[in-house]
Assembly symmetry: C2
Amino acid sequence: MPSMWRLYQFPLCPFSRKIRLLMGEKQIAYDMVREDPWAASDMFYNLNPAGRTPVLVDAEREIVLSDSRAISEYFEETVDKAPMINGTVANRAEIRRLVALFDENFYADVTAPLLSERMKKRIVLRQPPDSRALREAMKMAHGHLDYMDYLIDNRPWLAGSQMSLADLAAAAQISVADYLGGIDWKGHEQTRGWYSVFKSRPSFRPLLTERMEVIQPPAHYAQIDI
Amino acid sequence: MPSMWRLYQFPLCPFSRKIRLLMGEKQIAYDMVREDPWAASDMFYNLNPAGRTPVLVDAEREIVLSDSRAISEYFEETVDKAPMINGTVANRAEIRRLVALFDENFYADVTAPLLSERMKKRIVLRQPPDSRALREAMKMAHGHLDYMDYLIDNRPWLAGSQMSLADLAAAAQISVADYLGGIDWKGHEQTRGWYSVFKSRPSFRPLLTERMEVIQPPAHYAQIDI
């Protein structure tokens, strides 16, 4: 069966990772096209005027989807398997609140500065990272992990009794931050336990084995028992 | 009938304005509590760890909603009147893509710098605005209005044949940018026409008559025929 969906992404895009986890859990087939944020082509801007990954294209059916939350809602509405915006209306509001918290706050506080210092400066600008910005991002990561510890102390999964898009959004951001050496797991046993269960899921495996050129993750990054 | 919902907001919060437009169109009653972004209380952080407006509370039913997209989806799921994430699954994906474009890109490019230069510096920091930052925001606004002109040339409303959350999200951002003098309407006849129809709706009126302390909008701001 030919793959229907084509995903425009780059290996360390946390929003593309969220969609890959979602498609993995829902067992939706796709292939990938590399689209680096610092070299977006005119063709890519035509697909998504926001100029951001992920973008999903089904050329045969002439469907172009962009924005990771719009894509998530689309699959929730069209694919019954593994509902990820699940539960009561209150649960669903809680899932979407947490997705926004990870997509916007965790990303702005932690993932974006790490990508800037350790990816863009390394690959594009060829500058050393700013160690103060790295320390600040790691400090912000601690605050976010404290909040996750608190959630996991009170619920089996981040948003409630079932795995949801909130877990996928959090795992996607954390996986990129961890790849870039921005997560100090000490003192975050609850979140570490949650993340290690997550890392062992089939949907997560392909992400853990990928590398982005010269940037190497720390030794623990791909180990599923840590 | 006592008002059920309490909305935490400040007059120039574009995301609160989007929710007020949505609740207006759906005829959902609410009252408001002022919550300034530079003076968020501990109580407010308890309601929303992201520390952002809007937050909606129904104390009697013990419901706390935050994140403007999560709130929009909640009302879409619970209130039949005036569906704003409407149409086919493809339309709904297009609506959500455009909401993200206005919430994220228009906000970051235009509304956020205007709020920083003309509101925060005026009220909190007591500094003059940076005229280069203002010029840059206005230049970015032109680009976004060009894209809106293009959409409106091809469709009755921004996302398709019906008014949708995309229109509300765009109108909310534009209304704040226009209040702060950041919109030059010259050359944007299509968007100006769309916005003037919008301004005359009952859901929009309460927003146009509000003022935020010492900050005064330009003369055309509240005129519905311009």
